[in-house]
Symmetry: C2
Subunit: 625 residues, 2 copies
């Protein structure tokens, strides 16, 4: 296969009017973003800007925001033009002001938060609440309509995107990846998600690498390697990169529009081919590399120092508002967007600009996939008692608990197309192989005849990356589906911080009325065989349990079922639950069975025999049995 050069489109698909309107939306979003970071009052700059209109403490991230806004308006164009079902995953979620700005422009924000209406007063409150005591976080968060990716700890956007696209054939998941974020390990391996996405049954992921060149105080690696190396890297990852490079807004709008048209055609072609049964190899999905200045359209210099197109614009490009020249600079900057052309006298976005937004559920901020609870359906559950081990005398019968659970999972997977199993290549070792009687491992890469249960439509997701497994599962759950992560207990600490972030997400979501409950994130942790041999039948590293119990979260449950029948009860219980993180620690070795199924049910229902801790109640290491 000859290598194609990374392309940069030449067409000019936007008419002058379209170009004007798109540019106007972008200016409006940028204006609202700056307003959120800086202003307390005088939102429309109807009066000259004064110190008193500016927040006493300035917090937030400007640098990434204009790029996020640029992507947003262009995605809106193609959603409308092509009737797409699309969500927006914002890797640089610290660009919260941008995400909030667009959702307010789309109207969703005011529908959900009626105290922030689409008018002058609403704009004032929108500005004030941002990163302000009693207000909203500075990052994309559960509070942000349309978001399924917490904007705190970076690195998980693309695995979330792949998780969201699975089994959603009509969905396109646009995923902006920060070039700083791209340096994290979890992000660096998550590009390989394309080898697990079946174009016949899944939707598409459209990665947009946001190459704005800088992190906090440093350039990024990907911005400073030769352009051909950058291209090779993504070709090597299996993508077809499309470059959009520049800083002249008019040119960049045309380029972005043309490129989006191309990549959407490419996505459609891949899907048509696959759905016609004609796909033979793993497709080379398109991706976009957007090289634009950090802090684009912001002040070029501040106090004589380069700011636009430089890391100095990462957070608040300038503070110290006691300096009158800074107040003036801010006013000039904000007026450069010409707000009076964008908003009417009441502070409402002008009609012809507002008309750019898609309607209803097609607005990315209102897309139900990004509020997965709206789409979630309970699993059809077989009766777990049918899988019970017969126990006549406690301790006489031996069984491998997880093997029994595997049979139960097999039948759950048979009956539910919205359930997937995730793990770092340990499903067989964890003795859950019965699931392969009903499904396969997902695999789009090459195969050989000897291969064992690999196929594009497999629903067991195995990659040697605990981060990716966790990210995929989170993305799958957050878009309304069900799943279970199986892992050796010894290695689950790898995802401590992801667990943490997801727990926070669930906790916050529960306090947000419009967020509907999503399925629980279920872990099955098994012990390492050689450790177990030395340590007897108990989990070798209780650290993860301590770690999870340490969360304030009311969302955590830990289960240590001592035998197969209690494990069946626990599995059933966890898979029916929502808005929780369930940690199940179970043995996979042959072990004595204690409870017949009726006794198991009785004990578990009564909460005896199952060591279940909630929140802070940390009990030290329990004796199993």
């Amino acid at each position: 296969m000859p290598r194609e050069e990374g392309t940069q489109a030449a067409a000019q698909p936007l008419s002058p009017t379209e170009l004007d309107l798109i540019h106007a939306w972008w200016r409006a979003a940028n204006y609202l973003s700056v307003g959120q970071i800086y202003l307390l009052d005088n939102p429309l700059l109807e009066r000259p800007l004064e110190r008193a209109h500016i927040k006493p403490r300035l917090l937030g991230h400007w640098g990434t925001t204009p790029g996020l806004n640029f992507v947003y308006v262009h995605l809106n164009r193609v959603i409308k033009a092509r009737g797409l079902d699309m969500i927006y995953i914002c890797g640089p979620g610290h660009g919260g002001p941008g995400m909030v700005a667009n959702t307010w422009l789309e109207g969703t924000y005011s529908e959900i938060y009626p105290n922030i209406p689409q008018n002058r007063d609403g704009m004032r409150r929108l500005f004030k609440q941002f990163s302000f005591p009693g207000g909203i976080p500075s990052h994309a968060a559960p509070e942000t309509p349309g978001s399924i990716n917490e904007g705190g700890e970076l690195g998980y956007s693309l695995s979330h995107a792949y998780g969201a696209a699975l089994d959603n054939p009509d969905l396109i998941v646009a995923c902006v990846v920060g070039d700083g974020e791209a340096e994290t390990g979890p992000l660096a391996t998550s590009w390989h998600g394309n080898k697990f996405l079946n174009p016949a049954t899944a939707g598409a992921v459209l990665p947009i690498l946001h190459l704005n060149g800088y992190k906090i105080a440093n350039p990024t690696i990907l911005a400073r390697i030769p352009r051909n190396a950058l291209e090779d890297l993504f070709v090597g990852y299996g993508y077809k990169p499309h470059f959009i490079e520049g800083d002249d807004p008019a040119k960049m709008h045309q380029l972005m529009a043309a490129t989006l048209d191309t990549v959407l055609d490419e996505i459609a072609a891949i899907q048509t081919e696959a759905r016609g049964g004609k796909l033979t190899a793993c497709p080379r999905w398109p991706m976009i590399i957007l090289r634009s200045p950090k802090g684009w359209t912001g002040p070029k210099y501040v106090d004589g120092l380069k700011t636009e197109g430089y890391w100095r614009s990462h957070q608040v490009p300038f503070g110290d508002m006691e300096k009158p020249e800074h107040v003036k600079l801010l006013e000039e900057w904000m007026r450069s967007y010409r707000p009076q052309e964008l908003f009417d006298a009441d502070g409402r976005l002008r009609g012809e600009i507002a008309a750019l937004a898609p309607e209803g559920d097609r607005r990315m901020s209102a897309n139900p996939h990004a509020n997965g609870g709206l789409l979630r359906r309970d699993l059809v559950m077989p009766d777990f008692a049918d899988y019970a081990v017969g126990v006549t005398h406690p301790g006489r019968v031996e069984a491998e608990a997880t093997r029994i659970m595997g049979v139960f999972l097999r039948d759950i997977m048979k009956q539910n197309r919205n359930f997937r199993l995730f793990g770092p290549d340990e499903t067989a070792s964890n003795r859950l192989s019965a699931v392969f009687e009903t499904t396969n491992r997902a695999w789009m890469a090459e195969t050989i005849p000897e291969d064992d249960h690999l196929s594009p439509d497999g629903r067991v997701m195995e990659i040697l990356s605990e981060h990716t497994c966790e990210g995929w599962l989170e993305g799958y759950l957050l878009t309304g589906r069900h799943g279970l992560f199986n892992c050796y207990e010894a290695f689950i600490h790898i995802v401590d911080s992801m667990f943490n972030q997801h727990a926070k997400w669930l906790e916050s979501s529960q306090k947000i009325s419009w967020r509907r409950p999503i399925s629980s994130l279920n872990y099955l942790l098994t012990s390492h065989v050689w450790r177990q041999d030395h340590n007897g039948f108990s989990h070798q590293d209780p650290g993860f349990i301590d770690y999870v119990c340490n969360k304030k979260a009311a969302v955590i449950r830990v289960y240590l079922p001592p035998d197969a029948n209690t494990l069946l009860w626990v599995t059933d219980h966890c898979l029916r639950s929502w808005d929780r993180i369930n940690v199940i620690v179970a043995g996979k070795q042959p072990a004595p069975q204690w409870l017949d199924i009726d006794t198991a049910i009785k004990h578990c229902d009564a909460g005896i025999g199952i060591w279940e801790w909630a929140s802070n109640d940390r009990g030290g290491e329990p004796d199993v049995v």
Copy 2:
């Protein structure tokens, strides 16, 4: 720059005798590896093999081992031929039997463990102890001579390798990366280490991707993407890949030898150029892609199922030794290495084969860089009291504690070329910028005139990957140097499991007489500014402290210095310590100062005013002040 095709060497550098001897060493190492996994007795197969000679429980990993052994003997050849100073980092450290086998063949093992001599009885004990109660772990571990990479949790070999190479201009760090391991996030981003390695002052890293095709029960991604994509990927990462592909030992030996000659010439050329001051761009370092069968030379089929070149050879390729045909298969397999040609009647490796090993410290198993304590020198420490903030009345003066610490660090870095600072682009944000008065950020990629303190010889290591920072620092410390990792407290959980593994390493090392103490791993954790604003002056997420205090390790210390002067004392104290993990949590915001330096010293020396916990003494969240 035109793209070169990944090359496969054609030369035949080995004479027939050399080829025979190298093959013999390889057979010996393979034989010893199988013996460790399976045998209790009859080590030289002097008698027909019987069930009683075989261990009752079989544990260990065969699949990766022949590849590791293959690499080992070829590295030995070039070490001898070129007088190289080289260490071997074994990513697939579960191939412990291979590492142990080679170090025994080299004699190091018996020198260190005299109860395992180089004779028949020693061989018997070598076999028996492996993964046996009271014996040695099945993975490369501190017990393994020449190892600095724990063979448990995968993903850190390459960041360890880059850390080891820094400031060691004469060292070559060969690093075998498993193709499964390569799927982990931390490994996937660690390839970018080449942008931080200055060929003028650092040694070389030679990555060897061990493409044996499988993980536990699955193929690997990199083995199943098109060959040109694989090549593009590594060209994109900035390397020049050299392919070695095949399964015929004679051909593969010639290929490996020829390729190693080529890449070592390339490394030498890069270094000569750089050290002559002639290097202008980031060099394209060579790497090797070794595509060979998993379980190479092992049984082709077991019970009719494909085993060699397949995932079934990952661990113990067959068990159930009650089956006589399995005993027979094992005997045939082991005899296929023709042990009588390799070992004399006493079980000693024949002289002409043994002569392949380098001598003394040049044996990778005896290289002092892999027992870094041997090379460690105390830091030259300025007097921390010279940096004190004057405090006349407690609480009257304000200072930013970490800014004061930065000045102290600056002078430490000025006086010590064996100290580096690591962090995910937060050094400036953590207010340690004074260090840039004496050094820069390490950076080999492109620069522009506006860049701020980037240079090839910088000793501040910043990449947006907490995993890579931790891995680099561990590699740097394990080879006898000093360092500090600065990070926002909120994100340090990302490296929970790496912290865990390093703590275990230190604990085990302390019980091994020949391992010399290495410098402590020091964390400086600072609070997030916006969190801190909402939460007052306290760390927002005490989870990490709880996590570290939860370790049994006698190696953990936690410090919460309440002001600048106590922070100075703590910094001084930590940088003088060894074999510990020190966690320092400190504020970076202007805050009242409590103790003048004399009082600070008195309080700290007495252990008052510093909240220092060791091991399990977990005190809940302390009140600071």
